[in-house]
Amino acid sequence: MARVGVFVCFCGANIADFVDVPAVVEEAKKIKEVKYAIDYKYMCSDPGQGMIRDAIVAHRLTSIVVAACSPRMHEKTFRKALSDAGMNPYLLEVANIREHSSWVHQKDKKAATEKSSDLIRMAVAKSIANEQLHEISVPVTKRALVIGGGIAGIQAALDIADARIPVVLVEKSPSIGGKMAQLDETFPTLDCSQCILTPKMVDVASHPYIELLPYSEVLELDGYVGNYKVKIKRKASYVNFDTCTGCGACWQKCPVKVPNEFNMGIDKRKAIYSPFPQAVPNKPVIDAEHCTMLLKGKCGICAKVCEKGSIDYAMQDEIIEREIGAVVVATGYDLWDPKPYEEYGVGRYKDIITSLEFERMVSASGPTGGVPLRPSDGKIPKSVVFIKCVGSRDEAKGIEYCSKICCMYTAKHAILLHHKVHDSHAYIFYMDIRAAGKGYEEFVKRAQVETGATYLRGRVSKIYQKGEKLMVRGEDAQIGQVVEVEADLVVLATAVYPYKDNPELARLLGISYDKYGFLSEAHPKLRPVETAKAGIFLAGCTQAPKDIPETVAQASATAAKVCGLFSGDTILKDPMISKVNTDYCSGCQNCVTVCPYQAIVTEEIPLGHGSKEIRTVAKINEGVCQGCGSCVAICRSMAIDLAGFTDMQIINEIVSI
């Protein structure tokens, strides 16, 4: 027989001023199962919790209803009070009479009082059906997977590995380094990007706790927090990395020339190549799409010149498996393709380039030796127009967000241009200058003062060719007039856009992404590093546009999360998950289809007691289930129920008023 205790909180005046609390207590006492009801000024206070603990013992209560603020606020507090009194914490129900009653019906005390009584009635009815639940303990495999070897992945891998936790770092391209390796200097300090990045890359390669898998992709992720199993495809590189010394003879002799991705296609690389001189690992791979040997079976020069005999044209993709406990996703970003800006003549005029192309040109190790050159005629530009917010903040072109880093790197570009071409002049069309960050505003000022760049506030409406020059027409909002600038080169600060394979990766990992393809965090403010799926974390621009310091900070945060997760041998999981009553299960497996976490598998059980025939029923993987209840609502025979929100509990609530 249920014996429910009801504890009604005044919440100071928050509840008591608008709800007749003593009347509510009297009403609660009329409920058959309620054996004890009392009010108090602050139930969440120590004495308040003490009252609950004492009453549990004194009145042999079997479940507790606290009528107070939202359960999202103090459910944990009161559960602890139950635990302290030796009662299962999940026998608690909270009636939300503050957010749902006293605060929203402040002009009608009678109605608020009645409503509060009803809410308590519902909570009492629900609590009668509450069951004792116990947190689920799941063992942990203490190895982390980091997807992406840009600065975010590198930092996360190093921080985790430094805590002596093994890391598997998967990078799709032949070398780690990511976008940062392509940068010349970084704002706001103008450090040389390679100088600060390459030592970290080398650390990764040499770290005893890091298994670096370059030229690899994640194919499948199975399992659940602490117990994932990942399948990784190691793409055939056709080069035996174990014997290759990275001498470079092969790519020097290779006759096939291919646009060089690392340099944004400005120059050419070979079909066998290492993406850039400081690559880690510094071993070449053969680009199978362009290698004549692989395509036509003719050539074979690289094999001939390789002294170590490391070239293996018969190499196949290899699929390896690793058991891991947590995943850090750091797949970075792509630059948005500015093609929709037809009015700028993107694609028509050769001398319109993106800022990353500009970045490569001004890089000392870049394709033009550190000097910007016009793609059309190879001349050094004197008048350069930088256009910010190309794509970003332009709903008409489909992107609403601010890419966050363009203001800063455009200022940097103005400085770099000034350094490289002293008699040049930069014109910068901007919408706002967003320079929030340590030393950022100062940096922008420096760019303006040092380079004398002309900052023009307004959008560019049209670019057209006039002789050798490009005419950039835009509005200068500050003087309210249309201006036209004669440009030798136009640099577009195109938006930071999610890595194109993010949606596919998200589906494979079982996490969500937004309409652009940025991966979604569990909570924008309080859980910015976690995803909704336990044990999967986000670092860097895969989540949203970020600059390097922020990316590194988030990467370190994921490392802290991973280390926290791995701090014990087991993880405790919320017990409010689905459970299957196999007696009722007919094995239609519709639940398997709708589960967003692939948490439902099937198992075979005897048809009846002692029967030799078998039947297939659903089985919940306790480690994976997140307790959404999707399977429960679609189960026609009610064979699945959700602990904490059982059909019985909810129907009890519905019929209690």
């Binding site: 006492k29 009329k30 409920i31 058959k32 309620v34 009635r121 019929v655 209690s656 008023i657």
Partner: protein
């Protein structure tokens, strides 16, 4: 007591019915979704006392409804208060028109169990307060076999007034019970007491009726043979195409099994007594999970044996009145007649 027979013609019967409907709470077969239910009527035009047999549902729900309140309860801090339900809609004085013979006999069968060691007072009251007036059965339908069973269809006293066709468009109203005698006397306006030829005419009519049966069997032989056929292999074969629904029992004029369930809202609840059926797999499911009749043939065996053996042994009546309703309503037309005959004629094992 002498039971009177009155004579009238179709128009007279019409006005007899009309008079009853205007003076009494009257139930009669009303067409609904292509079949006839016994429903309270206000005018003769809305009902058909001579509704076709295959399309008419049993009169059983007027005495043993598909769901009836048993009691009310209310949970308070003091405990649970129980109270009687008021206002049984079927308890008042009423007349039912168009009752088939088989249906009426069904009520006699029900009486045996409901007025047995424990008297179901609700049922008893409904029975006492009701005058049953029969329909005119002139021709057997495909599944009728009432004449093959253990009651006298011709002189059946299960209803209070029999309506019988005579010759030359004459219609006889015959009291069959004391209740019927009084009722006819009170409502005899426009009726004349029948003359001597009435008995003969009615007998002729009945013989014609009895001759129209497609299905015929000897119930005593069936009763006798079935006794030894509990383990007959035929049972395992017969219900292969049965879909295990409850239809046969729910439409049967004699099936009387019920279940008890509570309907609760807030602190109050009502306890209901509703139809149940031995064909239902959960019918014999016990709290511990054991079910002695988990498979169809065992449930079918129970049904057939109960109808022709157990009930006969206990109450000296077959739990079947030969109405054929189960066969007509069965989704796959399984005929109880066929089943019991096959079982009875099967070899003793």
């Amino acid at each position: 007591m002498n039971l009177t027979t009155y004579s009238t013609d179709p128009a007279g019967l019409q006005s007899f019915y009309e008079a009853i409907i205007s003076a009494h709470d009257t139930y009669a077969p009303v067409e609904k979704f292509g079949k006839y239910d016994f429903i309270k009527v206000d005018a003769l035009s809305s009902c058909n006392p001579d509704s076709p047999i295959p399309k008419t549902m049993s009169v059983k729900p007027l005495f043993f409804p598909k769901s009836a309140r048993v009691m009310k309860y209310k949970a308070t801090s003091e405990g649970t208060e129980l109270s009687d339900t008021e206002g049984d809609p079927l308890a008042g004085k009423r007349v039912v028109l168009g009752v088939k013979h088989c249906d009426a006999r069904g009520l006699q069968v029900l009486d045996a169990v409901y007025k047995w060691d424990y008297v179901d007072t609700d049922y008893e009251k409904r029975r006492e307060n009701t005058i049953l007036i029969s329909t005119r059965c002139n021709e057997a339908s495909t599944h009728c076999f009432c004449t093959s069973l253990d009651y006298d269809v011709e002189k059946l006293d299960a209803f209070d007034v029999a309506v019988i066709n005579g010759l030359d468009g004459k219609i006889y109203l015959q009291a069959r019970t004391e209740k019927g005698e009084f009722f006819l006397k009170e409502n005899a306006n426009g009726l004349t007491v029948a003359n001597g030829s009435a008995q003969e005419e009615m007998k002729q009519q009945f013989e014609k009726f009895a001759g129209s049966f497609r299905l015929k069997m000897d119930y005593s032989e069936i009763n006798e043979k079935m006794k030894g056929r509990f383990d007959s292999a035929v049972f395992e074969d017969i219900p292969a195409n049965c879909v295990s629904c409850n239809t046969c029992a729910f439409v049967c004029p004699t099936c009387h099994c019920f279940k008890i369930s509570d309907e609760k809202l807030k602190d109050e609840g009502v306890r209901y007594k509703s139809y149940d059926s031995c064909n239902n797999v959960y019918f014999t499911l016990m709290a511990g999970g054991h079910n002695p009749r988990p498979v169809k043939y065992r449930r079918w065996r129970q049904r057939a044996m109960h109808k022709f053996v157990y009930y006969k042994e206990r109450f000296d009546m077959n739990l079947c009145v030969g109405c054929g309703k189960c066969t007509i309503s069965c989704p796959v037309n399984i005929s109880i007649f066929e089943v019991v005959n096959r079982v009875a004629s099967s070899m003793q094992e």
